[in-house]
Symmetry: C2
């Protein structure tokens, strides 16, 4: 297939003719694929096709090694233009065209309706608009800090420009001088509902200029103009990133669908498709394609996992916090993270910390001071920062993303969901979780993070119970693959001791996902807890010891959950209490209940947790307000054991 | 207290002197309140104080009737400046100053760390930055469409300008010509982490200009300049809204804290506070205030509910869909909504529909055509639109907010959470939920909405099982108070019939929250289901009837849940299966398990649901991929009953 590196200058006449021919062929495949699937998005595919072809013709990439570290990244933000993207990737040898024709939008295959990385050549799953530029900045920043010369292209729609996250990403790219980042806007003036000027008027070029980008406006169907714009940005980067705005025509090349918003997301009928193929002077092979598709039954497994190699991480020597010392988990986190950065970033950048204007609160001061390259200040832009961090993680860097729980997972939930869909490796180490947020009040109380954390299938949830366990979980998280949510509170906590008064989580303790921590043995009542309230459960158990034998199971690993220990406890003790400073209708309690119900085991069971919007105050006062003070727990133990 | 309506022109010298004196006194209260609480945000309070005072001096408002419909709305977006806001509100008679001094950031009181509407005069809970302007547009649009002349002021911070949601709100305000909206930016150049130009460089004024706003830049501590800027926008609105950017000094008036980012969020020590009071030439009453606070014990109940009167809604006559007719719930929704708008908006606007570039998909075409004033196209700006809708709901309009589930509740989760904290009355009627999204694929499959829906305490969740039930739930939702999540799928569904073949949800059926629908009686196995899969459960039960007696409980009301019917079924049948096209680890199954565990009841129990990221395809194929086909359910029934 035609490859003319940008460095070779303008296309020759012969090259241009070949690219135009290719364009015509791929336009046909955009039509064929959507007609075969009876659905999909031909309109934007045809308007973006010239930019796509120009890129795959001129950029550095390899179908043999789609994840080669030196490739130029091409990220498709308007993920619905799969027909254009898959057509182009097939033409450039990433997979068989016949496979695309058969499998597009067919259940049981990787060829989804929006771009997904299960298809070779696709960098990032999108389709929820506005996230692609943030993903692109993730690659651009990683490449910049790794000293690689590859470029990052991000293709976007024009309707998509309405998303606020783009304004955040734009700003970030200028701050970090990401001149290896080149954005392209397919300005076809139509979104699904109609004219962009009617749906939501916007001075797109002015906005990008105001954000400090270099703006180039061109005819997006003029292959020479597109190539010239990309080449200039590619070969002679300015101080700031470049955005190319291509004026295009939705449905370009098929006059009877051109400029009609309807064809944003409507396939042509078979008859219309035949007419389109005739206009394009292409073979009408629809009958054989239809037959091929009708005969197709999926057999491949879905490609939900990336083969990217993650960096080997030295987890160093755990820090020990002595019994009697009060430290906050976030400080233990900050120290573990700074340790990891010092230890691992000697020759290349492997561990980074990102925050959103809360460096002090999330304890990244030491990281910033000792490893300034590893500290990334994203501003108050959580949507952008979450996607950025997720994308950096598939560029071989382990990102710890830290802000308050309400911002890290509630505000940026959908970004974290897409990170999970992208098989990323982000560590969401968020602070100020539960009722332990200081006196900031309701709006800052993150008491729903377990509900949110159970949404994305592959997100693990680890909530440390004290500074020692925090240290060990952070080191574990840095070295092990997977998306992880690590919520912490704000306050200084006692170091949890075992029955002999030694640090329970110190010394040789090793964090193991899916394993409960038996903080106290007991036969009468089981208290299941986690995080900030675990030491309180221990204190309640110790104080009740003369009258009641209370088992304390601390579930640092909320997901996966140690259901065996729960079922065993339900069978061995007379009652079970879940105890949490989290909304009790969607937190640990419901997961404990589920473990019991799944096992067909019943016991006397009570869920203690937050159950209304409370006030501003210190943790003890707020716990008392919700009936969660140590005395409340003791009373519940007595009642249930009685 | 000094009141000089904007219409009276510039301040006289005497008025200016009085306002300056007041400013000095309130600066003292900003210092006192934070020192008394030992925490809080004095810096931004002092930089915003002149704007606050100018507004409460010049705008129309009434401490006697804080929710008077004709008042000017003053919305504080940078919610941490409570010391400034509460000082000003106390001075203007909204509550006793002594109460503020005693209760600020004290557990058990309404005087939270960030502005909350439990404090009289506060319009909207914020503190999660970037949402205030969207709330302001909600008021501005409501006032515009209600024909009221009141103005809406939104005060923001400068760091906050980084949030993408602001760019969305800005655009929306221009589109709808909300010239009754006046924004103010406290440009003190510091955010919590330091200089805004270091944290995230941004050309703030340029961005607002590019968005089409009229931009006025002034000295934010010059009371005449602030008044002149507000007065001009207030008295002679242009075609577009106005933003006033006030150059200010963080900590203004206390030289030893001025321009220090530390005092964004740090209270002065008692000794420092004494010094500050001396500088301000104010009485040092700290000792008596400290004593008063120490002696204080909260006795009031928290004011979590607004007293706003909602419009009386005529729910009209339900539409009946006959057995045998296949209709999608979203079409039934669109028709019910259009009916409600026609019926209720004759003399004033009571019911509106908002969407984000998905009018066709969410079936608002009829609403737009028949009641164009009631249809609000928000563009692809879900964060903004969610807040906008929430705020409109407390302006006496019932908003139906509709887009795909992934955008309505996953993308905008935190906005919906704040709507709930604000005791709003939003109806989130989202479509394309569950696996029933057409061939759009993983990124568009909303299979976590029940997890998210359980986060906000007061959000009710109603999932209709067929078009008849959809119609009745929508009519119910329009008339009843409260935030409601109403998810629907995409496909045409059979109308569910009772055992006699009559429409189960037609005719006299009345939707009742917290009540299960017993679709089929049965003694062997209970299938608990909801939404799109309920008809499938009925079909399974009917097909199994010769061999097994299957009870089908359809839970349209997921929250509140009919736990009594569940416990009864667990006791009366031999096994229970939860059946849903939702992530089974955070959906109906875990709520059923919780109901059983809470009751101490065990049974043979299995949770059928989605459990991995699947592919693109039609609902039947995707259900089969997850083991959720009707045959799978039948097999499970046989296995568990066996």
């Amino acid at each position: 297939m035609l490859r003319v590196p940008f460095s070779e200058g303008p296309l020759t006449e012969e090259q241009r003719t070949r690219l135009q021919q290719l364009r015509r062929q791929l336009a046909g495949d955009c039509i064929r694929s959507t007609t075969l699937a009876t659905c999909g998005h031909p309109g934007g595919s045809l308007s973006t096709l010239d930019a796509l072809l120009t890129l795959y013709c001129g950029a550095t990439h390899s179908p043999e090694q789609p994840l080669n570290a030196e490739r130029d990244r091409i990220i498709i933000s308007h993920g619905h233009i799969t027909p254009g993207v898959y057509s182009t990737l097939a033409a450039y040898g990433y997979f068989e065209r016949a496979r695309f024709m058969r499998e597009f939008r067919h259940a049981g295959t990787d060829f989804g309706g929006h771009v997904e990385f299960g298809v070779p050549g696709v960098e990032w799953n999108t389709g929820n608009l506005g996230q692609g530029l943030s993903a692109g900045t993730g690659s651009a920043l990683a490449l910049q800090r790794q000293g690689r010369t590859a470029r990052v292209f991000v293709l976007m729609g024009d309707g998509e420009q309405q998303k606020g996250q783009i304004s955040e990403a734009r700003r970030f790219a200028v701050k970090f001088k990401l001149n290896n980042l080149i954005a392209y806007i397919d300005f076809n003036r139509l979104q699904i509902g109609g004219d962009i000027a009617q749906i939501m008027p916007q001075a797109i070029a002015d906005e990008w200029r105001a954000a400090g980008w270099h703006v180039v406006e061109i005819d997006g169907h003029d292959l020479d103009a597109v190539r010239a714009a990309f080449s200039a940005a590619y070969l002679e980067p300015r101080d700031v990133p470049t955005v190319v705005i291509g004026r295009t025509v939705m449905g370009k090349g098929i006059p009877f669908i051109e400029n009609q918003a309807k064809y944003h997301g409507t396939a042509l009928s078979v008859e219309q498709a035949r007419e389109a193929l005739q206009i394009l002077e292409l073979e009408d092979d629809l009958d054989s394609l239809l037959a091929d598709r009708a005969a197709f039954t999926p057999t491949r497994a879905l490609a939900h996992h990336r083969s990217i190699e993650l960096p080997a991480i030295d987890t160093g020597t755990p820090r020990d916090y002595a019994v009697g010392v009060k430290t906050d988990c976030r400080s233990a986190y900050g120290d573990a993270l700074a340790d990891l950065a010092l230890l691992n970033n000697q020759t290349e950048l492997k561990v980074v910390g990102l925050t959103c204007d809360l460096k002090g609160s999330v304890k990244m001061q030491r990281l910033d001071k000792e490893s300034p390259d590893a500290y990334i200040e994203c501003g108050i832009q959580e949507h952008h920062a979450a996607t950025l961090a997720g994308r950096m993680s598939v560029e071989g860097i382990v990102p710890f993303f830290s802000t308050f729980g309400v911002f890290a997972i509630a505000e940026a939930y959908n970004q974290q969901r897409l990170n999970d869909l992208n098989d990323a490796n982000i560590k969401i180490a968020c602070t100020h979780c539960g009722l332990d947020v200081g006196e900031d009040g309701q709006t800052h109380q993150s008491i729903d993070y377990l509900a949110l954390g159970h949404g994305p299938y592959n997100l693990k949830i680890f909530v440390p119970a004290d500074p020692n366990q925090t240290d060990r979980i952070i080191r574990y998280a840095a070295a092990e693959r997977g998306n992880m949510l690590i919520p912490m509170g704000r306050s200084k906590l006692p170091v949890i001791a075992d029955a002999d008064g030694q640090p329970f989580f110190g010394g040789d303790y090793r964090f193991e996902p899916g394993k409960a921590d038996l903080l106290r043995k007991g036969d009468d009542v089981t208290v299941v807890c986690f995080g900030d309230v675990s030491w309180r459960a221990v204190q309640a158990a110790d104080e009740l010891a003369p009258e009641l034998s209370v088992r304390v199971l601390s579930m640092a690993s909320i997901r996966p959950l140690d259901t065996a220990s729960l079922v065993e406890a339900a069978q061995q003790t007379r009652a079970m209490i879940s105890y949490e400073d989290h909304n009790r209708d969607c937190g640990l309690g419901v997961q404990v209940a589920t473990a019991l119900a799944d096992a067909g085991v019943a016991t006397r069971f009570r869920r203690l947790g937050s159950h209304f919007y409370g006030s501003s105050g210190e943790p003890d006062a707020l716990l008392a307000e919700q009936g969660l003070a140590i005395e409340d727990l003791k009373r519940a133990c007595r009642e249930l054991a009685g």
